[in-house]
Amino acid sequence: MTTAADHIDPAVRAEALASLLIERGLVDQGTMDNFIKTYEQSVGPMNGAKVVARAWADPGYAERLLADGTTAIAELGFKGPQGEHIVVLPNTPKVHHVVVCTLCSCYPWPVLGLPPSWYKDPSYRSRIVREPRAVLAEFGLELGDDVEIRVVDSSSEVRYMVLPMRPAGTDGLSEEELATLVTRDAMVGVAEVAAP
């Protein structure tokens, strides 16, 4: 089956769908705009960076985070759609986790925002499973042969976030300074956190 005029520009189709739903009173323009604005401006990887920095600075928090990601993340005020079942996996010198959603684009929105385009790309979604070491190398992350790579597949049941290793030379940094070091890519597992 084809949907309404598949050959018509998606911008036009999106407008058609929105206008019909708004006319029928099924969708409110303000509600739509609020969601868009929230994810464009307020929810993004800086939330996850604050979670990681807290975990590095506070071993008790790290323990709670690894035991129950969703609850520990909500402690910092981060919750919302796609955040119901967040599992946080710690990277270590011996085990490196990297996250994918092979079927679509499941991603922990409250801590990382919406996924980057490469995360949604068919090539990343298939290749990271088949040849993770090569794909990570393309991201600039060369891992030694002694490091086990675990590729974890996010879904509606579980959305993964990586707790990267704290870089050396950061003992004197405040939690806020630590947060500025943490990148989205490190929390997906395609990068490590670089020392300042």
Partner: protein, 139 residues
């Protein structure tokens, strides 16, 4: 910046500058075009009011992505939000929120409007949408 205890303050969520400033974290806009943000906002708004079930939508999205990938082995022409939009059209039709025929008619009407009609905007005159100011005009 706030101290770590300030997380209830919206300012804590809304860093306006520095390495963590949205929306260009790690160098990418959240939406590549206004219609993508519209398709995104529609799905979230329908989910919030319970008019669609998110898991139904997600399954439709998985099917759309799978179908596209099966039909395009080279991966050329990939658009995640086109799959998203098709999944939303199907889900809204299946829930009888829109009539597929009415949707096709409306799309054809809009497509026939003279150039200059703003297909990319948010569809209501006089509404300023400063969020998209930095996005270059879409061809």
């Amino acid at each position: 910046m706030n101290d770590s205890a300030g997380h209830a303050d919206p300012g804590y969520l809304l860093d306006s500058s520095g390495p963590a400033a949205p929306p260009r974290d790690n160098g990418e806009l959240v939406f590549a075009a206004p219609w993508e943000s519209r398709a995104f906002g529609l799905a979230l708004a329908l989910n919030e009011t319970g008019l669609i079930d998110w898991e139904d939508f997600r399954q439709a999205l998985i099917r759309e992505i799978g179908d596209w990938e099966a039909a395009h082995p080279s991966g050329e022409g990939w658009s995640y939000y086109e799959c998203w939009l098709r999944a939303l059209e199907r889900t809204a039709s299946a829930r009888a929120l829109v009539d597929p025929r009415a949707l096709a008619d409306r799309a054809a009407q809009l497509a026939a409007l003279p150039a200059g009609h703003d297909h990319q905007g948010h569809g209501h005159e006089g509404h300023e949408h400063e969020i998209h100011n930095e996005i270059p005009d879409h061809p």
